[in-house]
């Protein structure tokens, strides 16, 4: 019915970069520790689990120290969970812009995710140092496949983030639903315990959780000097499907945002 034509001889790449930088800069302005928070958060969480699972309820993690075992999983998990929470909120907290000025609304969501990549990079740098310090075996092919893992996990978070951000415009409950779901999801993913503690007959369902395959692959590459695990394929398929669905949903309801918000 409606045809809106206009020449737009300028891409949105610059805006995406500018908006991402805005989030990162604003996050650490007037903060003493600034970027250090990117390390403090996973380090503190890992510290408490290390105390519990080495002193109180010892868990066998082979010849890998528990602290390294859980930090390896915590860093990608925090990228996953914090980026999703930020994305779900991203449209609503910018409602004054959504109702006043047009640019593709995906930018809010994607930028919220990219801004968390910064924290991930810092925390991952520390992880690399720990691994080198611990003299874990290094498989160059494994390390080269790390970007694939990041892409799979980002597709999954972006898919969920787009879906959640769009729905949160209509029902603010969604934000709380996602917070709760991420809390539960944390325990359904092998972060603080090794996969061999999960009964084998559960595995069929367990690996339907795409994050399980992703986290296992991070460990396999970084700690065992191996390649990604075979479950990663299922993770990739599920993640891509969720991304396609999330983006489809977002595009479908995007035009209602300014009127409803």
């Amino acid at each position: 019915m409606q045809r809106l034509t206009r020449t737009f001889p300028f891409g949105y790449r610059d805006l995406l970069v500018a908006w991402t930088l805005r989030i990162i800069r604003a996050r650490y302005k007037q903060s003493v520790l600034g970027g250090l928070w990117a390390i403090i958060q996973p380090a503190a969480t890992v510290a408490i689990f290390t105390i519990i699972f080495t002193l109180f309820i010892p868990i066998d993690t082979g010849n890998i120290p528990y602290i390294l075992f859980s930090y390896t999983a915590m860093v990608p998990w925090l990228l996953f969970s914090s980026s999703i929470s930020d994305m779900v909120d991203s449209i609503v907290i910018n409602m004054h812009l959504v109702t006043k000025i047009y640019f593709p609304r995906e930018i809010f969501v994607v930028a919220a995710m990219l801004a968390r990549l910064m924290d991930f990079a810092i925390a991952f740098g520390i992880l690399v140092l720990l691994i080198l310090f611990n003299r874990a075996p290094v498989n160059p092919w494994g390390w080269l496949s790390l970007p694939v893992l990041v892409v799979i996990q980002l597709s999954l978070s972006l898919g969920l983030g787009l879906f959640g951000a769009a729905l949160n415009v209509f029902y603010r409950d969604i934000k709380h639903v996602f917070t709760l779901a991420l809390q539960l999801w944390f325990y359904a993913t092998p972060i603080i315990y090794p996969i061999n503690l999960v009964p084998t007959h559960f595995h069929k369902f367990y690996f339907l959780n795409p994050m399980a395959g992703v986290i296992e692959s991070y460990r396999s590459i970084l700690l065992d000097g191996a390649l990604p695990t075979s479950n990663l394929l299922l993770s990739a398929v599920v993640s891509m499907s969720i991304l396609v669905f999330g983006y489809w949903f977002f595009r479908r309801v995007e035009h209602l945002f300014a009127d409803v918000i």
Binding site: F10, D14, A18, W19, R22, L97, K100, I101, Y102, V253
Partner: protein, 336 residues
Amino acid sequence: MDPSIVINQVSKKYRIGRGLPGIRTIFKLGNSSNDEKYHWALRDLSFELQPGESLGIIGPNGAGKTTILKLLSKVTYPTKGEIFVNGRYSSLIELGAGFHPELTGRENIYLNGTILGMRRGEIRSRFDQIVDFAGIDKYLDTPVKRYSSGMYARLGFSVAVHVDPEILLVDEVLAVGDVAFRTRCYERMLKLLENGTTLIFVSHNFSAVQRVCSRCLVLYGGKLAFEGNTAEAIAEYSNILRRAAVDSSLTDTQENGGLSKRVMTHGAVIESVQILQDKGQSTLTFSKGDTALVRMNVRFVEAATSPVFACTVRQADGGIVYDFTTHWANLTPPRL
């Protein structure tokens, strides 16, 4: 040459009420169930603008002025009808869109500029002009949360006009600046017009509209009430409000020169108000100690037994300086 803007039979309705939208509304595009309440913000509006033309839009609050700008800038979509916008536009619906209070003036120029559609390189090349126009060079590296509201507005306006838009949409945003800055804004708008920019200007400030726009629309209740040259449109706007005042009793009608009328009944229409000097000359300027005579021509539509006439003198900000009614003064107007 192709027109810059074509609006063809455009209507826009909004859902009113506080209820949450149904799942059905979200999934079925616009095919809404009948039990929800709607308000038509615009009805069957059509107009066309050629490149380099300027159009003023005036009308009371809620007439649909801002809705037009939002439709043109693609923030929202029409319920019915078609909109064509040809060319790069910049909208001044909000000054300093996306400014983050914690970021410096410099960082916010890049941020706001990219939001308005400029590339980084373009902003860099116009950076000095932007800063110069806004007059904030000393505060460039200060977070904008420390800016005065005037500085904030100047910076926002400056970025927006340096987008070098083919189409510029300006809402009532210039009210914040001081007189000198507003004058520069109008000059800048006129200069953009000379260079072929198409301009849509929404304002309550008639003299500003008259200064910038040759053509003008009057909107009333979401409908086009008048279209023509600006002077006629402003005159027509007063007439429309006067007629509306008869329909809905409590509407102030704005007159040129600050004289307004309010009719509290459907039974009468105030045709004109004049303030006269002793000698009977109509004027709006009085010196201390002068006697002012108020003359009203009132047409009674229905018979009235004891009409009361009132007069209030207000300051520009609405504060009452003096008021009286014929009732307080114990005057009995002639029986009608």
